[in-house]
């Protein structure tokens, strides 16, 4: 018998298993109570910004928080990630765009928000980047993220970010309407984007991603959700050498456009002034904060016109 034994093996075994279960239950209960992503209870009226991994955060927020508090979505890549659409008239719009996201990732996230009947309108921002790959770039999001919300490294990182920010917005990944803050500094287009938007060989289209984009459109149509295709802005300098490719790409995407669907095409002549203003762009593709404000205002005006004309459903804000 060991001299330091204070209990029988049977008692030790029971206490060890009991304490383990207690620890696990305590951590899980604490996280259910805090409910950072609004998945464990009704989250109507809550204001939940995203902390921790952006994909995981948007995936979890899309389960209850987004359908409870919003009636319109923006689906897109980083090109539309910093568009603050919360002020769009007639809708409470949540931006589901992901920084560096493709349509397969977007579909995984937005499918959750579209389950309920509350979403009336979707702005589908169809930049070539969205359909250039189908790989999950950082985490492969699955329904196991719900288990992660009971206690995981991502959740711990999210708490740390939130506590470091003392409730301010500087450490959040995106705000309560899903809007990212992207840098305003003027820079070169990154290598991945340059490759996707190759002016010589044409835009890269991944067949799986393209099919996923078609599936998203089909699902929206099946659910009778109004769809507005948005061909996002690009600086005039970059558009000049890629105008044919953009036209071909837009035509391909818009083949799935149904009769009631609308299109806002920022590559059209009417938006030339916007495209010619370099202050609107950080790298020629992504918008600066001021550029995003202008672009959203332009879209707002167009959406409002369609609502007035009865061509888009007017939802309660």
């Amino acid at each position: 018998m060991h001299s330091d034994n204070h209990m029988t093996p049977r008692a030790w075994f029971a206490k060890t298993i009991g304490l383990t279960i207690l620890l696990v239950v305590a951590v899980a209960s604490l996280n259910v109570g805090i409910d950072l992503y609004g998945i464990f209870r009704n989250s109507q009226g809550r204001h939940l910004a995203g902390y921790g991994d952006d994909r995981v955060a948007k995936y979890l927020l899309s389960e209850r928080y987004v359908p409870s508090n919003f009636n319109a979505l923006v689906i897109g890549s980083s090109v539309s990630a910093n568009w603050d659409t919360s002020g769009i008239d007639g809708y409470r719009m949540y931006n589901e765009s992901l920084d560096g996201g493709n349509i397969v990732e977007e579909k995984t996230i937005s499918d959750r928000a579209l389950v309920g009947p509350r979403i009336k309108l979707v702005l589908l921002v169809v930049h070539p980047f969205l359909t250039s790959s189908h790989n999950f770039e950082t985490v492969h999001i699955t329904s196991r993220e719900n288990l992660g919300a009971l206690g995981s490294q991502n959740l711990l990182d999210a708490y740390k970010d939130k506590l470091r920010g003392h409730g301010h917005s500087k450490t959040q990944t995106f705000d309560e309407s899903g809007v990212f803050v992207l840098g305003d500094t003027h820079r070169e287009m990154n290598a991945v984007l340059r490759k996707v938007m190759d002016p010589v060989n044409g835009f890269k289209i991944d067949p799986i991603a393209f099919q996923a984009e078609r599936d998203v459109v089909a699902e929206l149509h099946a659910a009778k959700i109004a769809v507005v295709f948005v061909i996002p802005p690009i600086s005039q300098k970059l558009l000049v050498s890629r105008s044919t490719q953009f036209a071909t790409y837009s035509e391909l995407i818009l083949r799935d456009k149904a009769d009631g669907d609308k299109v806002i095409d920022f590559t059209a002549p009417e938006f030339a002034e916007f495209r010619n203003n370099d202050e609107n762009f950080s790298d020629g593709v992504h918008l600066t904060k001021a550029g995003a404000v202008t672009a959203v205002a332009l879209m707002n005006r167009q959406l409002d016109r369609w609502i007035q004309m009865g061509q888009l459903p007017a939802a309660e804000r």
């Binding site: 034994n5 093996p9 060890t16």
Partner: protein, 478 residues
């Protein structure tokens, strides 16, 4: 099924441990053994049920061969001895053929030059998990039966021995005479409870080694070995050392969980690791690393080869060790990287033998440095998908113009303290300065401190398991 999955932890393990204990108590050892056999087969077939048929076929084949070899008799006639030897050879050939069909056919066909521009069509066979382990276990069983070290098992005992879930997928390799009697043995319940507690503690150590440490090192190693970028010397060493620690914590973590699970059932299986990275020579390393495979290489490859060569001289033993280690390297998988790994270790062991023979000595610290550096270098071959990529990494490890740069590392990984410093510090402390987990579990007392340590380790591991999908154990691929 993986040990580091919730299905195993929350359902399988409690059911099998609880059910086995209750059945042993109420209905006796044989009924409990039957329960264990059924659940072991379910464990093996969890991801791909069809491979249970392969496992059962292999069990049946080896049981029949062993039964026909029969009990060794002192007064056996020469024809009887020849017949037994022939059956043993048939059994070994059968096992080697099974292993080759799944592991090596593609490798060899791929190296047959194309004839008239035509390439041989390669069969697309997926790899049954654990085949290397249950095949070697049965080769050992056949040889031991032939040598009279154990009597042939009943089919029931043999099937339980081979399919026993703690070791069927990744070892340790076991000998029949050490395990089978334990299925029938009814030791006092207090002793079994004591062993079960030590098993739970060892399992907690192993699980934490795998999900907290090994998987953290894996993220760094995977980033480095996944690309052929031009790394600085520092980066190349960080990547290679990360893999060296990953494989240790991964495989020793698995082994701890295997031994711990078996202890929870009251069955003692051999340990597989004994602080290998403190070794001061390569021969000491192989006495501490994957001990059950080392024993197999020594007893079933090296020694028979040496005997076959007649006189045991320095030359013959060097040749035998080179051959044995090359085969051991190839056993890991059908790739030249594994062959080179085996050959390099064979050469190092041969050099070790020569230096011992010539009574050459070196300070302990120098022995440790050389051994660890050599092991780390050979693991570069072990981890790399191709020989050129391994050479690329080794070349980067040699000091060159970019000595301390971290640009590539930052490109593939966020350089957070959590990601880099925590596992490195904990890993180094555990691997170099701490007692082995098995020694800690064997010596622990039953008090609140050990309750807290074990519960916190289990809780922490569950937290990590819940953070990302379970990663495969490295040795599941072999």
């Amino acid at each position: 099924m993986k040990f580091n999955s919730f299905a195993f932890l929350a359902i399988f393990l409690p059911v099998v441990a609880g059910g086995y204990a209750i059945l042993r108590h109420i209905m006796g050892a044989r009924v409990a053994q039957g329960f264990l056999l059924v659940l072991s087969l379910s464990f093996y077939g969890y991801t791909k049920p069809v491979y249970v048929l392969l496992l059962l076929g292999s069990i049946l084949f080896n049981w029949m061969i062993a039964a026909s070899i029969g009990v060794a008799k002192r007064d056996a006639s020469s024809s009887q001895m020849a017949s037994r030897k022939l059956k043993l050879q048939l059994g070994i050939i059968g096992n080697v053929l099974l292993l080759c069909s799944f592991k090596y056919v593609n490798f060899f066909l791929d190296h047959i030059p194309s004839i008239h521009g035509m390439k041989l069509a390669l069969p697309d066979w997926s790899f049954p998990i654990g085949i290397s382990f249950f095949t070697l276990t049965q080769v050992m069983y056949l040889v031991d039966t032939y040598q009279g070290l154990n009597a042939p098992n009943s089919l029931f005992d043999h099937a339980t021995l081979v399919s026993f879930f703690p070791y069927v997928t990744s070892g340790p390799l076991v000998r029949s005479r050490a395990i089978v009697p334990q299925f029938k043995n009814l030791t006092a319940s207090t002793d079994r409870m004591d062993l079960a507690c030590r098993g739970l503690m060892l399992f907690a150590f192993g699980l934490a080694k795998k999900v907290v440490l090994a998987d953290s090192f894996a993220r760094v190693a995977d980033a480095g070995f996944g690309s052929a970028q031009h790394f600085s010397t520092l980066e190349a060493w960080i990547f290679s050392l990360s893999y060296t620690f990953q494989i240790y914590f991964d495989f020793s973590g698995y082994s701890d969980m295997a031994v711990g699970t078996a202890w929870m059932l009251g069955i003692d299986i051999p340990k597989n690791f004994n602080a290998p990275y403190i070794s001061k020579s390569i021969s000491e390393f192989w006495q501490r690393w994957h001990i059950s495979l080392s024993n197999f290489i020594t007893n079933y490859l090296f020694t028979p080869m040496l005997r076959a060569m007649g006189k045991a001289t320095l030359t013959t033993s060097v040749i035998a060790v080179l051959l044995a280690m090359s085969i051991a390297g190839l056993w890991h998988g059908p790739a030249w990287t594994f062959v080179i790994f085996g050959v390099l270790h064979g050469l190092a062991l041969a050099a070790n033998q020569i230096s011992k023979k010539k009574k050459l000595k070196m300070p302990d610290w120098l022995g440790w440095v050389l051994t660890f550096a050599f092991v780390n270098m050979t693991f570069v071959f072990f981890r790399s998908p191709t020989v050129p990529l391994a050479l690329h990494m080794l070349h980067a490890m040699v000091p060159h113009a970019g000595l301390l740069g971290t640009k590539e590392l930052k490109g593939v990984l966020p350089m957070t303290p959590v990601l880099i410093i925590r596992p490195v510090v904990i890993g180094i402390v555990l691997a170099f300065f701490f007692k082995t987990s098995q020694a800690v579990a064997e010596e622990s007392a039953w008090n609140y401190r050990t309750v807290a340590v074990t519960a916190v380790l289990l809780g922490l591991s569950i937290f990590y398991m819940n953070s990302s999908p379970a990663k495969e154990f490295v040795y599941f691929a072999f």
